[in-house]
Symmetry: C2
């Protein structure tokens, strides 16, 4: 009794064929109710659990999907990158959304980090071996080669955010420009006269578009030029940018930060410098992450429905898996403005 029971064992105990046991377990075809019960009893007494490797060998499905976080070109500090990834609430939300959509289907996400060229090769190699049924890819950098590598390796892939260069893979994304416009109009409506912005990294499309959208909306209302400091979506970048903007534009009265982490840092800097938020300076963030409600005052922010977007990624991947020949689908989500206390 050393080895775990197999279908064969269950069949012998139940006095039926392997095929019948398989049918009962998978519910693939009608089986006589009495026999079904016999089989189920045999499964119970033997303590049988189907071997998933054997199953995937023939079904060509593993029930796993690779959840790949990719970014940081060469020369970056990998450890720092990992620290960034695991501390940014954004990725937790992605995982949450992915798991929520996977779970009812009995599937699981397999975490993969691709922060170096080597790691990327590894990820592609493993995925090509069929370790997972497909890949959900979140790139944190603009010119990530991974989407292209994955698709040309024949791995079913769905991306978070439209890739910089077109790739035959579906994606979900947010209408960043609209979100930034919402932020701009809200600041203006509150009477903000001297807005500034802490924008995201400009080599990332999302960073670019949030800045564009904000600037365009501001321009439409007579603010042709809005001072801007670039940050890389981290708290310390937000701190530095806010400090600089404050020094160069001491009369600023409104800040739009391209994500909540930077907005939060901006609020901290402002308060340390004696500015009241929102009375002296209004601050609007982006994402509506947990950082938004953890900040005092709570952040007014542009909501990006990350969990739903991640869930949609799963759905897109699953349909791509079902009909591999169909052209990739994509979905763009619309942001909302969530008004709280900071603006």
């Amino acid at each position: 009794m050393g080895r775990p029971p197999t279908l064969e064992d269950v069949a012998r105990v139940a006095g039926v064929s392997r095929a019948t046991v398989s049918r009962v377990i998978n519910g693939t075809r009608n089986v006589d109710p009495a026999i079904q019960e016999t089989v189920r009893a045999a499964v119970r007494t033997t303590g049988y659990a189907p071997n998933s490797a054997a199953r995937s060998l023939v079904t060509r499905r593993t029930g796993a999907v690779g959840l790949v976080i990719s970014g940081a070109g060469e020369g970056g500090d990998e450890a720092a990158y990992r620290r960034y990834v695991f501390s940014d609430p954004f990725f937790g939300r992605v995982v949450d959304g992915v798991m929520g959509a996977l779970r009812p289907r009995g599937m699981h996400p397999m975490l993969m980090l691709a922060e170096t060229a080597d790691a990327r090769e590894q990820v592609v190699a493993h995925l090509r071996q069929g370790i997972a049924d497909g890949a959900l890819l979140v790139s944190t950098h603009g010119e990530d080669p991974l989407p292209g590598m994955l698709t040309s390796a024949g791995v079913a892939t769905v991306l978070f955010a439209r890739p910089a260069r077109p790739v035959p893979a579906g994606y979900v994304d947010l209408a960043h420009r609209d979100g930034a416009r919402l932020a701009a109009e809200h600041l203006l409506a509150r009477g903000c006269r001297r807005p500034v912005t802490i924008c995201g990294p400009l080599d990332v499309l999302a960073g670019q578009e949030r800045l564009d959208g904000f600037n365009q909306a501001m321009a439409r209302h007579g603010h042709a030029y809005v001072p801007c400091a670039e940050g890389n979506f981290t708290a310390s970048a937000g701190e530095q940018s806010m400090t600089r903007l404050l020094r160069e534009h001491p009369d600023l009265d409104g800040v739009f930060a391209a994500n909540d982490l930077m907005a939060r840092a901006a609020v901290q800097v402002l308060r340390e410098q004696g500015r009241r938020v929102p009375q002296d300076v209004a601050v609007v963030g982006f994402d509506d992450s947990s950082a938004a409600t953890a900040t005092r005052p709570e952040l007014t922010t542009v909501r990006q429905p990350v969990e739903e977007m991640a869930g949609e990624m799963v759905r897109l991947l699953l349909t791509a898996l079902e009909s591999p020949e169909a052209p990739p689908e994509s979905v763009i989500f619309e942001p909302d403005l969530v008004v709280r206390e900071s603006a």
Copy 2:
């Protein structure tokens, strides 16, 4: 050419047997260098990638380990629980440490959440089917039945934190009492006279031990009774607890919070109430998570080397996998005090 190339195809192209190709790919035995090159060339021209399902079927190894986050008994709000898990930096650190140790071995973590009885059954069922080689389990609640379920299902398991009731599984843990003592002595050394503590949930061993260690150390120095408010390791709990302690003990001059998230919230409350940190009130946290350095002033805290502990879990699991009959091993880590600005 529809189906992906198999070993057989490579063997045909290279003009050798399947076995030889397998040997070259896995480097299992000496193979004539010339033949090796031929085989490698054939692999390249065919674009061959070994099928991992077929491989695991015979090797009985998947290269995946389940990373299970478990907790929240019945009746809990699952969505809220997930939000908690994914926003607490602690779990990110666990994932980071696990991936760091798994990666050089070409393995991957498979994320599994077990926040309800159903989910627990699912997790056990999947793991029994061999979807992963073993499980790394992080329980957030004391009386979690999952460790027992897993071990009696024959799943190789390593736990983060010693389980409430003994289970035949290895674990890693921290000397929580020592850490709390460090915090107490530091507060005392700074001249703190009226300490209070925001302790963790008392149904979790870590919460209990941190409180005990703190109280014992305080008692040794003449503070027989230290006011305490219980929190569940979240920021909002920290906020409420601090507010209450401040109301009931307005003259407090030192706070020990059982984790950084609560310490951070405590700092915020204190400052909002006009107390200066650390001049009026010293605050010590626990964990040394990213929250510690994101707080202003930066948190003095007891360092829990979560990443290393998680890496050790992987190592323990791997050795358990190698020698299934050996008794489970465990490792206890020692905490350090990290002195920053808040105390």
